[in-house]
């Protein structure tokens, strides 16, 4: 069966696709930062509790307080890119979601469990004793599982050749396990989380007032160590991911296409720079370079999607119906709400503790 016959007809979009693409990339980067911090700090806290099951530490206590925020913003900042993704690629993502529907909808139930588990870890941090390990472990395990499902969906949606499985017996339970990019891609995201989790820990002394923090240097050392080794592993996994790409796509990144290769080289350079700052324990330069790297990697990720899909579809082929007023409404409300948020944060910071 020719997979192109299966691709649904898309619906028209109200503004030129580049706007949507821009918003997609922008919000996705923010989502990644929250998500990485959430999972990374969770993993680091989990490892801490494995090593010292009954012990408490200011660091893990801080992490316990931070994780519910991180979940809230990870989810919130995940909503926006998923929305913009559906606008440009709805006819792909809806299909892949239906193919793996059971896993996809289970994300909701799992997320609620993980969220409450994180709140228990937060609100009952001291009282929990050795159960701290269980609750942070449950949250982290669920985050990792959800990440796996999302990676499945993101790879399945760009592979219409795999959609024929719909006509087999596994209704709603199709994972993209035969895709060679699945595991490196998944690990690439999760290892990035460990790195960012470490970086966040190293950043904590800057986010909190110094008097609140007695273990300032320990945090920077610990955090940057996690960051550096994870980033090192990231480079290896990244190469594995590259090698797993279909040949025509791989070649584009390796000199076959100037733009693809250019972004890729700069991205690698960013990773190397981050690594150097990491090992030197230079927190802020490491943070800046890694955020830059993440932006490049998000662009590369989009190029990969283009590369997979361009024989079937490009967003520029979407029918445009030119309705700008809702877009203006969105931009205005965004500006107003951001101003209000800034004001609220200022009020909050005045009482001595930021959120």
């Amino acid at each position: 069966m020719d997979p192109s016959h299966l691709i649904p007809f898309p619906d028209p979009i109200p503004v030129p696709w580049v706007w949507v693409e821009f918003l997609l990339l922008l919000t996705f980067v923010i989502h990644l930062l929250f998500m990485n911090t959430m999972i990374g700090t969770g993993i680091i806290a989990f490892v801490y509790h494995i090593r010292r099951p009954r012990a408490i530490s200011p660091l893990t206590e801080d992490i316990s307080k931070m994780i519910p925020y991180a979940i809230a913003f990870t989810v919130n900042m995940g909503v926006a890119p998923l929305l913009f993704l559906q606008v440009l690629y709805g006819h792909f993502i809806y299909v892949s979601s239906v193919l793996m529907a059971v896993y996809w909808i289970s994300i909701i139930v799992l997320l609620i469990l993980a969220y409450y588990s994180a709140y228990i870890y937060d609100f009952r941090y001291e009282a929990l004793g050795s159960f701290r390990l269980f609750f942070i472990g449950l949250s982290v395990a669920i985050f990792l599982l959800i990440g796996f499902f999302i990676t499945n969906n993101m790879t399945l949606m760009i592979k219409p050749e795999a959609w024929g499985a719909y006509f087999g017996p596994d209704h709603g339970r199709i994972l993209n396990l035969s895709d060679p990019t699945l595991w490196p891609r998944y690990l690439h995201f999760m290892t990035a989380s460990v790195a960012l989790g470490g970086l966040f820990i190293a950043m904590m002394p800057r986010l909190k007032r110094p008097r609140d923090l007695k273990d300032r240097d320990d945090r920077i050392t610990l955090g940057m160590r996690w960051f550096s080794y994870a980033t090192l592993a990231q480079i290896a996994i990244g190469l594995w991911f590259l090698m797993a790409l279909p040949p025509h796509l791989k070649m584009r990144f390796m000199g076959g296409d100037f733009f693809y290769s250019g972004v890729f080289v700069v991205g690698i350079a960013g990773a190397v720079v981050s690594l150097i700052f990491g090992f030197k324990q230079r927190v802020v330069p490491a943070a800046i370079s890694v955020i830059g790297t993440i932006i490049l990697m998000v662009i590369i990720r989009d190029l990969v999607r283009w590369g997979y899909l361009n024989r079937y579809f490009t967003p520029s082929s979407l029918k445009l119906i030119h309705q700008y007023s809702p877009f203006i409404l969105f931009v205005c409300s965004l500006v107003i709400v951001l101003v209000v948020i800034g004001y609220m944060l200022r009020l909050a910071s005045r009482i001595g503790k930021g959120v």
Binding site: L6, D11, Q86, A101, I108, I112, Q323, L347, A348, I351
Partner: protein, 884 residues
């Protein structure tokens, strides 16, 4: 069909959507009203300088945060996930049309999260004024989220001008935007009180507890004072079909509407009861009960809103099964398989028939139906059907039952789906149509000697096909009975029609004299007809044997409504029992001539083909209880009657007690359609595109049935029901148009989806009254001559009753039927229970089965050959259609 489906037939995506959505909206509305509750309660604490109230507010804020931020927000994402899995096409439309609406809502969501976190984590630490400001900002963000989402949710039910313009704002500020916004805002405030009970009943200190419970009760009760008005306002802006659905047209909605209406006063009273002093344990339990009540209230409201837009998912734009309304015609023409993307097979053949049926079923039906699940389970709904009935049901979908989408596709595709449901899901064996060998009954033709006999007695049934319903404990559509006419002719060169000085008597065949042994008619005749009659006596007072009375209007003798059924005492099924008619000289009492004729009476009513059940009598005829109950149930459901209940209580109804019927001269209810128009009009919607098989599905005329009632010469010439009456659609339209013309609005409901087939448009069909304006023989037999090829009797009706073949006579007063036989059994007929059973008098008087006097046999009455065509033109000639 643009998208694949998530195949979970036993659960149903709809149920998953309902569960996630209802839980979400319950908490999400609390997240709005509860936000206001927090600031107002905090203000109350400050105003009354009560640290206890402030502490309570803080505890409530924690509960609020944990419930709304975690469960509320994740289930919100959950709705989006689940609708994109179950209805990807509709989700795609919502996303693409309203992308920046969603994006704006997301912006407010960000504001909500930030403000709620700050509100909760800075409680008691921020200065009061600023803290209250944060609380107000939270409430504003939350309400603005509702404002945005409200536009998109209401759009699905009332898309308004968007249907024409496709404009964001037309869809957003649609007709129900404002009523819904205010309704939901009131609901949100009410939920603040309802959830407030949970935390206030947990307060340990009694005085504060009672104060706060009463405070929460006010939050519950005050919005409830205006909620009914809001609901009414909302309903009044939902126009047309969806409003009708809510008001009772959709059987699925009735329990939800009842729940919604009843819970309003219950919750209100609950709020009042909570304000009364009583033990805290009771109040706490009551608080939980009220919370569940609130969930049911909210759930029933959402269900009503969702289900009232059926058969659409986006009203008037996209059907529940994701097919666009605009695609319908193309799909019906080219076929569903060709237009659908996610099907394995594109071509239907004998091998893949069932598999294709399953694929189409999955794509068209599973969006609303489950297979063995809780919601709209297809299995009990289709259990009664064999293939024909299932196919008819699919054929009629979305027409009179307009809460379902029509079936989309070709006839073959429809049949494949019917096969899948009947043979696949229900695993019923393929029903081969039975070709029963019918018993050939002995026939003794009464003697006649053309040289010595002086009289000719002609007798016939007024209707050549007559069927009765024989399950009178449920209903009656026609009483057991057959009317026999007779004319006596004194032979001679100038024959005379004898009407005086003689007595005519009749007697039904042995074994048929006790019909009350076989049917319940006499048990229920009092209830059905309002008078009691003795067993085995007909409605006109005639017994199985008796005297005929002279009817001046027709110059003939009549035995009206002789009680007779097709069941012989020895359990033989015979829809053609014989009646012997004898003429006696009044003075001497001596028999001067006798003859016989059949009294057609059948119970082969095909109701069971669609309504389930089986034949009541030996697999050959009769209406069994299951069939009767089903058809009454359907009538009750669709016409809001209580016929089944009434029948079960021992009070069955006669169809004519509401629906007028010319053949029985019954008026019925003047606003309702006559029986014929309603029966044909309703059923035509389920049997379109057919020929005589549609007629055969109900009437006893199938050539493979037990009655084979259409047995006259026309049948042998290859004519069918359709030749004279038109197809079922045409036939129904002719009846409905008359009713519509007479001001009966109900006709339009049945006509709306019927397309004429023998006339180019509806307007060209001649309206007609049943039993009065019928096919006219002379339409085809112009001047009594042979018809032209392809002549059709359709659409040129007899002007009045007198012109009917069965009541018409020549200038001599001889009825057409006297010489040509009963309607549908015109000489030479072939009776399935014995070749010449219908041709008794031609055989008796002429030794041939042709009309009296045919083949220039004028002698049969005139005793000599005649040269003039006195009876009608073209009568003096040889029969064209000699029978072997």
């Amino acid at each position: 069909m643009n998208y694949p489906i998530w195949h979970i037939p036993s659960v149903g995506g709809g149920l998953l959507i309902a569960i996630i959505s209802i839980l979400h909206v319950y908490v999400a509305h609390f997240a709005i009203g509860g936000g206001l509750f927090l600031v107002i309660t905090e203000m109350k604490g400050y105003r009354e300088n009560s640290q206890d109230i402030i502490d309570y507010t803080k505890r409530h804020a924690k509960f609020f945060l944990l419930l709304t931020m975690v469960f509320g927000s994740i289930t919100g994402v959950g709705i989006w996930f689940i609708i994109s899995l179950v209805h990807p096409s509709a989700t795609s439309i919502l996303i693409h049309n309203f992308v920046f609406g969603w994006a704006t809502e997301w912006v407010f969501f960000v504001g909500e999260i930030v403000s709620l976190f700050i509100y909760f984590y800075t409680f008691d630490r921020m200065d009061r004024k600023n803290h209250l400001l944060i609380g107000w900002l939270y409430f504003i963000f939350a309400w603005l989220s509702l404002f945005i989402i409200n536009g998109i949710v209401t759009f699905m039910l009332t898309p308004g001008d968007w249907l024409l313009t496709g404009d964001f704002w037309d869809g957003f500020f649609n007709p129900t935007f404002w009523p819904s916004l205010f309704f939901r805002t009131s609901l949100a405030l009410m939920l603040a009180g309802l959830f407030g009970f949970l935390t206030s009943t947990a307060i340990k200190e009694r005085g504060l507890r009672e104060t706060m419970i009463r405070y929460c009760a006010r939050w519950l009760i005050l919005p409830m004072l205006i909620l009914p008005l809001m609901a009414y306002w909302y309903l009044s802006w939902i126009s047309g079909l969806p409003q009708g659905m809510i008001k009772g047209r959709s059987p699925e909605l009735i329990p939800f509407v009842k729940t919604f209406i009843w819970l309003m006063p219950i919750l209100f009273l609950g709020g009042i009861v909570m304000a009364i002093r009583m033990p805290s344990a009771i109040k706490r339990s009551l608080a939980f009960l009220l919370l569940i009540g609130g969930l049911l209230y909210m759930g029933s409201f959402e269900w009503i809103r969702e289900a009232s837009r059926r058969p659409y998912i986006i009203y008037d734009y996209m059907y529940s099964n994701a097919v666009l309304k605009s695609q319908m015609d193309e799909i019906n023409e080219k076929g569903f398989l060709r237009k659908a993307k996610w099907v394995k097979t594109k071509i239907i053949d004998h091998e893949n028939f069932m598999a294709v049926g399953e694929e189409i079923f999955n794509l068209q039906c599973l969006s609303c139906h489950t297979v063995g699940g809780f919601v709209n389970d297809i299995l009990p709904r289709t259990a009664k059907f064999a293939h024909f009935g299932m196919d008819a049901m699919l054929n009629g979908l979305g027409k009179i039952n307009d809460y379902m989408p029509p079936f989309m596709g070709t006839v073959k595709e429809r049949e494949a789906v019917a096969s899948y449901i009947v043979n696949g899901l229900h695993k019923k064996p393929d029903m081969k149509r039975l070709f029963p060998p019918l018993k050939q009954l002995a026939l003794e033709i009464p003697p006649f000697d053309e040289n010595t006999d002086k009289y000719i007695l002609l007798a016939w049934s007024d209707l050549g096909i007559r069927f009765i319903s024989d399950n009178d404990s449920y209903f009656n559509i026609s009483p057991p009975g057959n009317t026999i006419f007779a004319q006596l002719i004194k032979r001679g060169e100038t024959p005379q029609l004898v009407t005086e000085g003689i007595d005519l008597s009749y007697k039904v065949e042995t074994g048929f004299e006790r019909p009350s042994r076989h049917v319940d008619f006499w048990k229920f005749v009092n209830v059905l007809f309002g008078r009691s009659i003795e067993n085995d006596v007909g409605l006109n007072g005639n017994a199985p044997a008796g005297k005929m009375t002279f009817k001046k209007d027709f110059n003939s003798f009549e035995a009206a409504a002789i009680p007779i059924v097709p069941y012989r005492d020895d359990q033989l099924y015979n829809p053609y029992p014989l009646v012997t008619i004898e003429a006696r000289d009044k003075e001497s009492g001596k028999i001067i001539v006798s003859t016989m004729c059949v009294a057609p009476i059948s119970t082969e009513m095909g109701c069971k083909n669609c309504h389930g059940g089986r034949w009541r009598f030996k697999d050959m005829g009769g209406l069994d209880a299951e069939t009767a109950m089903d058809l009454l149930g359907v009538h009750d459901r669709m016409s809001k009657t209580q016929l089944l209940e009434s029948a079960k209580a021992g009070s069955p109804k006669r169809c004519q007690s509401c629906h007028s019927d010319q053949i029985y001269n019954v008026q019925g209810k003047p606003e309702l359609l006559n029986l014929s128009a309603s029966m044909h009009g309703f059923h035509a919607n389920y049997m379109t595109g057919r020929g005589a098989d549609a007629c055969e599905a109900c009437h006893p005329v199938s050539s493979t049935g037990f009655t084979r009632g259409f047995r006259g010469i026309h049948a042998r010439m290859g004519l069918t029901c359709v030749t004279c009456h038109g197809t079922l659609e045409d036939h129904a339209l002719s009846l409905l148009l008359k009713e519509y013309k007479d001001g009966k609005e109900g006709a339009m409901k049945l006509m709306r989806h019927l397309k004429p087939r023998l006339a180019p448009k509806k307007e060209e069909i001649q309206p007609r009254s049943p039993w009065v304006n019928e096919p006219d023989c002379l339409t085809c037999h112009i001047e009594f001559r042979p018809p032209l090829n392809n002549a059709s009797g359709f659409n040129r009706w007899t002007k009045n009753k007198k012109d009917l073949y069965r009541l018409r006579s020549d200038e001599m007063g001889i009825l057409c039927t006297a010489c040509h036989g009963s309607t549908h059994a015109l000489y030479p007929a072939v009776n399935p229970y014995g070749k010449n059973r219908d041709n008794l008098q031609p055989d008796q008087y002429q030794k041939m089965p042709y009309p009296l006097g045919s083949n220039k046999n004028c002698k049969v009455c005139h005793t000599i050959d005649m040269a003039d065509e006195m009876h009608h033109p073209n009568s003096l000639r040889m029969v064209r259609t000699m029978k072997e």
